[in-house]
């Protein structure tokens, strides 16, 4: 397990070891979808939003 900081809310995320670049995970605190930009050390950035997915 490694750690990284959520780009949205600043919470600390526990990350799996086999994380891959480009993967999208969500923050357990704020739910933001985060893209893995780099793995060693891990860097996360906000993933592009898919507004249109979401009804209306």
């Amino acid at each position: 397990m490694t750690e990284a900081e959520c780009a949205e809310c600043g919470a600390t995320l526990d990350l799996a070891d086999d994380l891959e670049t480009g993967e999208i995970i969500d923050c357990g605190t704020c739910g933001a979808e985060l893209e893995v930009i780099d793995v060693n050390p891990p860097v996360l950035d906000r993933a592009p939003e898919l507004e249109e997915d979401w009804g209306e």
């Binding site: 997915d53 979401w54 009804g55 209306e56």
Partner: protein
């Protein structure tokens, strides 16, 4: 005189509403309804209320020549096909946002790039309470956004009467039904997930702000919530006017603006169960209800307005505008006054 009409996007929600209105309209005859998914199927197989209509969907590739073409397609489709549409019909009424704004700059600010920007300044916004005088003879008519329509109808009398001038702080808190999302629903719109919500689906930055700004010259703080209804848009406008206003002033303003409007109802207090605008009271109709209250303690006005997003907010507005544009009786085909009691239409 019978006019022929085509509906491009006839299998969708507002397309179905157009077909219903046109089929019951004394002056129109539905010549064509397009759908790619349901090509050759009966219209009644998609819209169960139109089983009596003896018509099958056809492809949008083969448009008949008609008097009026209504386009009820997603944003971006009409701008691509506008030349074809205008070849097929003298009058084109578009329900999407493609031709609502007047300049390419405005469009680019809120949307993604226009492929037929030359039409922007020629098109006329459909809402007759706003544009009645520009509609007669118009070639290209753009029906308004439903949430924008609800808001504009609510606030316009305050501008007409000089109570607002556009510098006020205004919060618009909107509640809408699921039909606003159209017929191609995703997971968030499934019955199990969508039932019973008070879902802030557009917390900030809703594109309808653009239309409101264009017509009222007012920048509004806009937030939209999805609630558990299928039809309906209800806008609550919280307005902070620069000088104090009484309820009497408001009645004066709204009566001045709407007393002679065939589709506007004023509902502002009074007795009974329905004291303020209520979407279910106008469901299925082309009526808009507006109401208001003053809050002296907070130097605030509250304006309520309610419409059926698929009627006054799109298809009904489109037919109303077509009636005006073509010189027909303004209320033709739009007489339905709604139901009582009614559940959650």
């Amino acid at each position: 005189m019978t006019l022929s009409a085509a509906v491009v996007g006839g299998s969708g929600f507002t397309g179905g509403e157009l077909l219903r209105l046109l089929a019951g309209h004394p002056e129109f005859e539905v010549a064509q309804a397009t759908s790619r998914q349901y090509d050759r199927k009966t219209v009644g197989s998609v819209h169960p209320n139109l089983r009596e209509l003896d018509l099958r969907f056809s492809s949008p590739e083969d448009l008949d020549s008609v008097d009026v073409l209504f386009a009820a397609t997603p944003h971006g489709v009409s701008m691509e096909h506008i030349d074809t549409f205008q070849d097929a019909a003298d009058t084109v009424v578009d329900l999407s946002a493609d031709f609502r704004l007047q300049s390419e700059e405005q469009y680019d600010e809120w949307y993604d790039g226009h492929v037929a920007a030359e039409y922007l300044e020629k098109s006329v916004y459909a809402l007759p309470e706003l544009t009645r005088d520009e509609l007669p003879g118009a070639d290209l008519i753009a029906a308004g956004g439903c949430n924008a329509t609800a808001t504009i109808l609510g606030l316009k009398p305050l501008f007409d009467a000089g109570i607002m001038n556009g510098d006020e702080q205004v919060v618009v808190d909107v509640k809408v039904g699921s039909s606003e999302g159209g017929a191609s629903a995703g997971k968030a719109s499934s019955h199990a997930e969508r039932s019973g919500v008070v879902r802030p689906y557009a917390p900030t930055g809703h594109r309808h702000e653009a239309e409101i700004e264009q017509f009222l010259g007012l920048s509004v703080s806009f937030t939209v919530h999805a609630v558990d209804m299928v039809r309906g848009a209800s806008a609550t406008c919280h307005v902070f006017p620069s000088s104090p206003v009484t309820k009497g002033d408001l009645w004066g303003a709204y009566r001045e603006s709407y007393e002679d409007e065939p589709f506007m109802r004023m509902v502002a207090g009074g007795g009974g169960v329905y004291r303020y605008p209520e979407p279910k009271a106008v469901a299925g109709t082309n009526y808009g209800e507006v109401g208001f209250e003053v809050d002296p303690a907070n130097k605030r006005l509250v304006v309520f307005s309610a419409i059926d997003n698929m009627m006054k907010g799109s298809a009904g507005q489109a037919v109303h505008a077509a009636n005006v544009a073509l010189g027909l009786d303004e209320t033709a085909g739009l007489e339905f006054s709604g139901l009582h009691p009614v559940g959650t239409p």
